[in-house]
Each structure stands twice: as structure tokens, then as C-alpha cells.
């Protein structure tokens, strides 16, 4: 009780001392520090991913907490996204209204189908010459000419944070020297690019274990729905030991209003295929399109040498150690030492310690469904009904067949008359002959379970819900199947192993499709739906 009293007195003092401070005028801002406690730039280059040699050395600092002294792992990654609205084009040509996230950094990478997550030296570059609808507009797309894509490969070189501009006030005040890109943004650029620029799926994100990730959500408002004062949030689905504050549930935390930016902060969790979405009125905002994927790459990608020895070395880090008596430990040392090794160039889905999750190419496959009636009502000023929600478009990465096999991003003409970048990701699974493909499959459908089957190469399921399928004795519990079924809010990882070149030859085409046969349709068209191609190159 005495303790409580003291703390209340401190609280009052704090109240009084804060009363004299003024609120900041700048509502849009981005955050991408070049140095942090965890990643001090003097010890470490935060603009590249260093190889992993062992746990970071930690020692108490003058403020009483553990800080790195050597052997710093991971780096800093940043991304900016808009929360707003936009339009997408369905495979039957229908223009569909979205509540959606859009890219406000990594525009070039996103146009190339890659994650829009960047190192600080890329993110912290000022933007020039961006136009409404970018990256579509900067690539010379003329309204009404869709599908005049794919983009020319030399288009729009810019990957930095949209709106980032020199902080003139800080320079004038002597707090910063030019160019002083400290997160201050020019809101005109943010609004020019971000308004009506929503994507389905939401911007792809990828981080590496040990990274610090600064994710800035900038709420640009929904131009088609001026009656709504909607906040948006980011829920990093599956983040272990999450804090309620950065969990993105508006009921349990804070949510950002229109005209403001909120930066979410995460230390990269264990490797795996996660996803993210808005958590405001989920039946509405998810159905309307605010769904995306985020995956975490394992340390094993950055390890040189025997993989079993690598995983053993990782046990020296208490944070990621997997003691098999810990009931939530997912990747204990494998029961069998395979002798597999990495030279720093091989890619793995998980810290398997035995090489069993190695892949040559990786593809996100995000399952979703749209109810066209709900989307139509969502564009009007009427409340939507939930009981009768019925999906009629069945989407892989925001598109139905045959758009799933159209290379490059898709654009959609919006109500401002401009073409807007709308669906960045095709779903063509290109496997080099003799190679292995990792499919990162997630489902954020709002209404029903979805099945995806492989006609041709069997699916080997290696992980469920971002966790390696391995028992606590270290046995891999992978299984082969021809189909997987997911409900909303689930993910799994599948390897398509085409290493037998006598069976899977260059030029072969196989199909991923849904055996929910009524989902092989695009609304009224008895054709299309949840389907794409696997091509051996």
C-alpha cells in the first residue's frame, strides 16, 4: 500500500510536468531509426543482414538493462502502409470496391511482386516525382487501357518511404543537419499516393529472425465513404507472447484515426509463415480486403556450416532456445543428424537443423473470398448484413483464375479516373527443373473453409500455423497429401518437390485448384475461381 501511495505521488508530479509540454503538430510520420539499443550502428551495419555465428553478446549497460556488446544479429527493417480504400478488378472484369491497405514504401519491390520491407538506408530516402496511383501511374499506364501490364522492368526505381522529406523545422532549430530525414513527411505526397490506392492482398512483408521491424500505418481515410471515420490497425496474427498494445485489437489497445500514423514495433519472432490484417470490425474490414501476409526467415539461412551444429549453437540464445520440456517449443534438435549444411546461400523455411525445409523458390499463396453484394453495399452508405454473407469470388493473392496466371501487377481504374496499382501478386508457381518450391499458404477468408489441391506434384506439409511439424522428441511429422484445408486465420507451409526430373520435366504445367468445385467460378461465370498453375522451367 505504501508503494502504491508513492507511485500515485509520482504520477501527480508527472502529470504536472507534462502539462507544460505541447502536443506535436505533425500527424503523419514514419519511423525507421538507423541505430537502436538492440542494433547499435557503431557495432553493426543495420543495412544488411549479417551471417549468424552465435548468440549476441549481452552485458548490463548504464541504464540497468542488457545491451549488445558484440556479435549483433539481425538488422533493422521498416515499412510504411496506407489504410484506406480502393478498387480491384475481378477475373470477370468487375470493378470491386475495397477497404484496403496500400504500399507507402518499397513501391518498386512491390510492383515486382516482392515484399515491401526495406533496410533503413533504402527506406530513409526522400521521394521525388510520385503521382497519384503510383507505382501504376509512373509507369505510363493510360486510363482505360488495362490490362496494359506487366510493368516495364525499368520502371519506378523508388523504394523509400512515400512522403519522407527534410525536416526544415529541425534543421532551422539546429537539432539536425540537412538533409535531416528523421521521419518527418510531407503529407501532400502521402495523400497523393495513398488515397484510393488500396491493394488486395495487402502489402507483402518479410523479415529475418533477430530483426527489429518498424511498421508504420498511415490512415489516409476512405474517400468513397466520407460517412465513416474509421480507424485501422495491424494485427500481426500469430506473434508469440504478443503485447496487447501492439496486437492491433482496437478493443484492447489504441487505434489510429484518419490523418495520423502509428508505428508498430516488433522483434522478429520465430521463423514461419504468419499473416496480418486490420482488426477493426473484422467481419467487415477483412471481407472488404484488409488482409496480407508476413513471413519470417530463419537464422539458418545466415548460417555457414553443418545445420545440426547451427541449431545447437542457437540453443545458446535463451530467447530462442527450444527446450523440449517447454510445452510451446516447436523446433527441438532433430532426432537424426543428416549432415546437411549451408554455405550461406541456401534457403530454408524453418530452423530445422536437418535441411528438410530447404527450398529453391518461395511463393506466398493467400486464400481469400469476396462477396460482391457485400462489397457493393460497402460502397454505399448502408449497413451490411452478415448472416447472408456469401463469397462469390475465390481468390489466390487477390485474384481468381485466369488472372492468377497473368504475370506482373494488375491495375484498376478508380473513381478519380486514374489507374491505380490494385493487385500486385500473380500466383504462378515457377519451379526450376529439379527444384523445390515452398508455398507459404495462408487463409483469411471470412465465411468458410477452403481447400486447395495439387494436381501433379504431391504437397509435403512441413509446418502448421508458422510452427515446424516436429514432435518434442525431434521427429519430423511432415506428411504428404494432395490437398490442404484451412479456415480463416490459419496458415501452413507446403513443399512441392520437383527434384525428380524424370517425373517433373521442363515445360510441364500442373495445377493447384480447389476441389470445392463451386469455388471454381467467378461470380456468375462457371469458370475460374481458386486455381493457378505450377510450371516447371
Amino acid at each position: 500500500m505504501v508503494n502504491r501511495k508513492i507511485s500515485r505521488i509520482c504520477f501527480v508530479i508527472a502529470l504536472m510536468s507534462f502539462a507544460s509540454m505541447t502536443a506535436s503538430a505533425q500527424s503523419f510520420q514514419v519511423q525507421c531509426p538507423t541505430t537502436t539499443v538492440t542494433h547499435p550502428s557503431k557495432l553493426h551495419d543495420n543495412n544488411s543482414e549479417p551471417s549468424y555465428a552465435g548468440p549476441t553478446n549481452l552485458a548490463p549497460n548504464s541504464q540497468g538493462f542488457l545491451a549488445p556488446t558484440a556479435n549483433v544479429n539481425g538488422a533493422i527493417k521498416c515499412q510504411q502502409i496506407s489504410g484506406g480504400d480502393g478498387f480491384a478488378t475481378m477475373a470477370d472484369g468487375t470493378q470491386t470496391y475495397l477497404f484496403a491497405f496500400g504500399p507507402l514504401s518499397g513501391l518498386k519491390d512491390m510492383a515486382d511482386g516482392k515484399p515491401g520491407t526495406e533496410f533503413p538506408n533504402v527506406f530513409n530516402t526522400a521521394s521525388t516525382g510520385l503521382k497519384p496511383g503510383d507505382p501504376a501511374t509512373a509507369n505510363g499506364i493510360v486510363p482505360g487501357t488495362w490490362p496494359g501490364f506487366p510493368l516495364p522492368t525499368n520502371a519506378l526505381p523508388y523504394n523509400g518511404a512515400v512522403g519522407l522529406a527534410p525536416d526544415a523545422d529541425a534543421i532551422a532549430g539546429g537539432l539536425c543537419t540537412a538533409p535531416c530525414l528523421d521521419g518527418h513527411v510531407d503529407p501532400r505526397q502521402v495523400m497523393d499516393v495513398g488515397v484510393m490506392n488500396g491493394n488486395i492482398p495487402a502489402p507483402l512483408m518479410a523479415i529475418d529472425e533477430d530483426d527489429e521491424f518498424f511498421l508504420t500505418l498511415t490512415n489516409v481515410g476512405m474517400v468513397m465513404r466520407p460517412d465513416l471515420f474509421e480507424q485501422h490497425t495491424v494485427h500481426f496474427h500469430g506473434y508469440p507472447n504478443a503485447s496487447a498494445f501492439y496486437d492491433g485489437v482496437p478493443d484492447a489497445s489504441v487505434a489510429i484515426n484518419i490523418g495520423g500514423s502509428f508505428t508498430y514495433y516488433y522483434l522478429a519472432p520465430d521463423a514461419g509463415t504468419y499473416f496480418w490484417h486490420c482488426h477493426i470490425t473484422p467481419p467487415e474490414h477483412l471481407q472488404m480486403g484488409m488482409v496480407g501476409q508476413i513471413y519470417v526467415r530463419p537464422r539458418q539461412n545466415r548460417w555457414n556450416g553443418d545445420l545440426y551444429a547451427g541449431l545447437t549453437t542457437q540453443q545458446g540464445d535463451l530467447r530462442t532456445r527450444c527446450d523440449s520440456r517447454d510445452i510451446l517449443c516447436s523446433n527441438p534438435l532433430p532426432r537424426v543428424e543428416t549432415g546437411a549444411s549451408n554455405d550461406g546461400s541456401k534457403k530454408y523455411a524453418y530452423n530445422d537443423g536437418d535441411g528438410s525445409t530447404r527450398y529453391d523458390v518461395e511463393y506466398p499463396l493467400q486464400i481469400h473470398g469476396f462477396d460482391p453484394n457485400f462489397h457493393f453495399v460497402g460502397m454505399t452508405f448502408n449497413p451490411e448484413a452478415f448472416v447472408d454473407m456469401k463469397d462469390k469470388y475465390f481468390l489466390l493473392n487477390g485474384r481468381s483464375y485466369p488472372d492468377t496466371v497473368t504475370p506482373g501487377p494488375l491495375a484498376t481504374q478508380s473513381t478519380d479516373g486514374a489507374m491505380h496499382f490494385s493487385q500486385p501478386l500473380p500466383s504462378i508457381i515457377n519451379i526450376p527443373a529439379g527444384g523445390r518450391a515452398l508455398l507459404r499458404i495462408s487463409d483469411l477468408d471470412v465465411t468458410e473453409y477452403q481447400t486447395l489441391a495439387s494436381l501433379g506434384i504431391p504437397m509435403q506439409v512441413i509446418a502448421l500455423n508458422a510452427r515446424l511439424l516436429r514432435d518434442q522428441a525431434g521427429n519430423n511429422l511432415y506428411y504428404k497429401t494432395n490437398s490442404i484445408t484451412l479456415g480463416g486465420g490459419e496458415s501452413l507451409d507446403v513443399i512441392l518437390d520437383a527434384s525428380d526430373t524424370s517425373k517433373y520435366q521442363r515445360g510441364d504445367v500442373y495445377y493447384l485448384y480447389t476441389p470445392n468445385l463451386d469455388h471454381l467460378s467467378n461470380d456468375a461465370e462457371n469458370f475460374g475461381g481458386l486455381m493457378t498453375e505450377v510450371r516447371i522451367n
Binding site: 510520420q29 539499443v37 496486437d247 484492447a252 484515426n257 522483434l267 519472432p269 452478415f386 483469411l444
Partner: protein, 532 residues
Amino acid sequence: MRAINMKKATLKMPLLLAIMLAALLLAPAAFAAVPGITGPNLKLTAQAEYLTQPDGSAIYSWGYGCNGAPSGFAPAAVSGAFCKNMQVPGPTLIVTEGQTVVVTLTNNLPSAAGNTSILFPGFNVSTSCKDATPVGQQGLLTCEAVPGGSVSYTFTATTPGTRAYYSGTQGDLQMEMGLYGAIVVLPSHIPSTCSNGLPLTNPGNNAAAKAQSGETDFRLAAAAYDHPSTCYDREYMFQFSEMDPRIHREAEQQSSRTCTGCMSVATEPYVPAYFMINGRSMPDDMDPNYSPQYPHQPYNGNPHLHPGELVLLRIVGQGRWQHPFHEHGNHVRVLARDGNLILSTPDTADPNLAGPLLFTTTTTPGQTIDGIYYWTGKGLNWDPYGHNPASGDPLAKLTCTPDANGYNTGTPSAINYFEWCQDHNKPVETAPFGDVSGGGPVTLPDPNILVNGTWFGGSPYLGPNATVRAVGSTGTTPPSGTIGNSPTEEAAFAFMWHSHNEREITTNNIFPGGMFMMMLVDSREFVIDESN
């Protein structure tokens, strides 16, 4: 006969929401546990009654209830227990491994509904159709009770775990109407490590911490199975089902027909509008167990836990749809399906767990999952307790001494018991906030452009001490009196546990509702009292 009360919900929504919110906020703190009735002799009846829904409707339903007072209620620490003659879900039957269980069912449904029965999947059941007393009528799947008649089911509770029970007669209608429940078999041999304390990696102290803060034990047992990896500190049950109001309306209209078994209600097309956990829709599910306003829906869903506690989730799919249940905050280790422990094969002497780790546990009709969840805050890379060694507040200057796994478990009386020590004192915000130091990686926006949630504890930090120290004039504290998670008393980390087929977190077209509840991680400053 009361007329079914299907109000024009949308018209009354603002008023209803206000009432709902007021009821929610005025209600005493409501917690959960796994309440039920104890065996091994259980007398049940199947009857009709009305279920209340948060949109104001009262829905004609059928359910199992107690035929007379049960022999006992468990856990003993939950007060106010009752078992009326109809409830949805049916009474949770709590028995012990090895017991001979006798369930006697009397059919008090309207005679138009015809026969009824109970299936106990996973057990080898003998029925009174063989024994002849009481007289039953052999149906397709099991022995059935004719209107007004009784049957009995006898089986040995051979293995521990959670299982569903439900009607074996015209299941498409009787399950929909509410004839389902759960049976929990407690292990007969609790592993000795459970009494030594939890968890296995930090033996000895969770029970001590519970005792230090004066908390009562609300478990049915110390372990879910006869296996040391199934020990737990708390437990909660989640039964998922849905209702199509048209079916209930038609059944009600035909219930007064005098002929026997002549009811004919189409169960397709199926358009459910109510999505329930433990028979209640959000926010009713967060009201207490045995709350008087839900006489026929006695069980709630409102989990609380402390950092480091192992929490057993007993998840049961009822109804006819699958529902992906997403547990925010961490993964769940699946222990067992349908009461069958999932173990790896090679280590037969000391078998390890082999169930998957899931952040979304699909509930399939009739299927159960037992799983274990915990939350510690490990890996946030900042101190969720907002400790500040430069503070004048002794609670802000607590120490953190890592055990072999990195947690502060040496002093069970400490309020930061089970803190993850690697992040101790580590700031998250660039600027200091009140009595929480700065120097961290991120900057919060102007608080005037943020909206605070109903369950927001008032700061980024866990527990009242840290929250009160952290919030100055930043305005992150919601106005007093309008919150479900007081900054000065609880300041929990609230996590939403819900169906991720998000359409199902609605109640008859109204959001929020349906299969949705908040789970609260409480600091040790807050005493978790699940006695009601």
C-alpha cells in the same frame, strides 16, 4: 407458450448496445474455470426452454438439464452453482478415470419431438435397451427414451480427457436445438511432477506464487492426463455451436402438436444467425458463470491468467459447422484429440508430446481438443512491466534474476514473478513516459489522434503499478468508468479470442457479438478470483 421474440434488432441496436455495455461494465468481475456436475451417477432430462441472446431475442431451444439435484458441483470453489432442468450446453459431466458412469436420461421434450437419446463417443456404452430397466426403445444409433420415458447409459470412463456428448436421435434437428454437452474424465494417477509444481522447466513455483497472492485453486485436477506434460495451473472450456432461428421458430410452432414424433422441420437450407461459445454470444459470454439472467445458459467464457501459468483449454465443437478459434497472444500446444493423447512413438518409456502447435484451433463438430497455452512476454524486446531503476517507487525497481530458462522464478511472492529477464528495464518508447524511462526504439503519436479501446489497460504496460507510473498527461488512459480493464486495478493485457471466420463474431447481423471473448493476462498485482 411464450411467443418467440425475434425483435427488429437493427432498429433497437443503439439502445441495446448501450444496455449491453452498461450491463457488462456494472457486472462484477467474471471469470471462468470449468464448472460442472460430478458423477458417477448422473440423472439428466431433455426439455424445452428459451435461450436469451444479446440482441434481445429469446429463442426456443431444447437442452439437457438435471433431473433433480445432482450429487455435487465442481470445482467446489465456484459459488452459486445450479443445474436447472434445461441448459445449453448440457451439464458438464465430471467423472474420474476408471469410474463406472451411469447416465439416466428422461425425455421431457414435447411429444411431437419424439424420442431422444445421448451418444458418448469414445466410450463403450451399454444401454437399458439391453438391460430392460428403464425401458428404452432401440433407435438407429443407440437406445432412445420415448416421450415421457427414460433410458440409462452405462460405461467405464476408461481414459482421461475432454469429450463431447450429444443426441443420437435425429441429430440434424436435436443438435441444432441444443442437445449437446461435454464430459470431462479426470486422470486417476496425477503425475508426481504436477504436485511438485509447474512448469516442468521451472519446477516448484507456480503453486507457491498462487498461494502467496492468496489465490484459490479452481482446477478440477492438477493434470489433464496421466502424463507429466499435461500438468496445468488453470483451465477453461469452450464449446462452439450455432443456431438458425428459422429452425427454432418452426420447432416451436410444431411443439404443441399432440401427436407423437410427428414434428417435421426442414434443417436445410441452413442459415445460422447466432454463433455461441458455451451457449452464449458475446458480450453475454463474459458475464459470470451461473449468472441469474441466463438461467438456461450457466457457463461463461472469460479466461484470466498470470504470466507463466500453464492454462488448459478444453475446446469442443458442437453444432454442425467448423469454427477456426483464434487464440491471440501465443500458440497452443495440442495435447489430445477426442481424449486421445497425441504422443511420439519412439520414446515409449517417456513418450513426448507430438500434437501440433497452433494459433488457430479448428473446432470440428463432435471433436474435442485439449491444449495448453501460456503467456510470458518473452521476446518483446522491451520490459512490459515498465521497470525503471531510477524511479523512487520500490515496485518500479524490482530485480529480475533469471533461472536456467531466463525467467524470474526465484521469488514467488514478487509481482514480476515469471518476468522474462533479458528485457528487464529495457525501454520501448524514445521519450520517457511519466515514471517509465525513455531511450527505446519507438515514438507514440499525439494521443489526441488515437482511439482507446474498452479493454485497453491505459498504457502499453502490464499491471496497475506500471500503468499508473506511465500515464501522465499523454491521455492514453481512457476516461474512468467506461472501461472493462481498469488502469488502477487490473491493467491487464487483453487478448481477443474468437472465431476467425469473422462473420461469426456477430449476433444476428450485429457486430460485435457471437463467438468472441476477451482473455486477460493479469499481473500478479491482481488477484484472479474465479469463484463468481
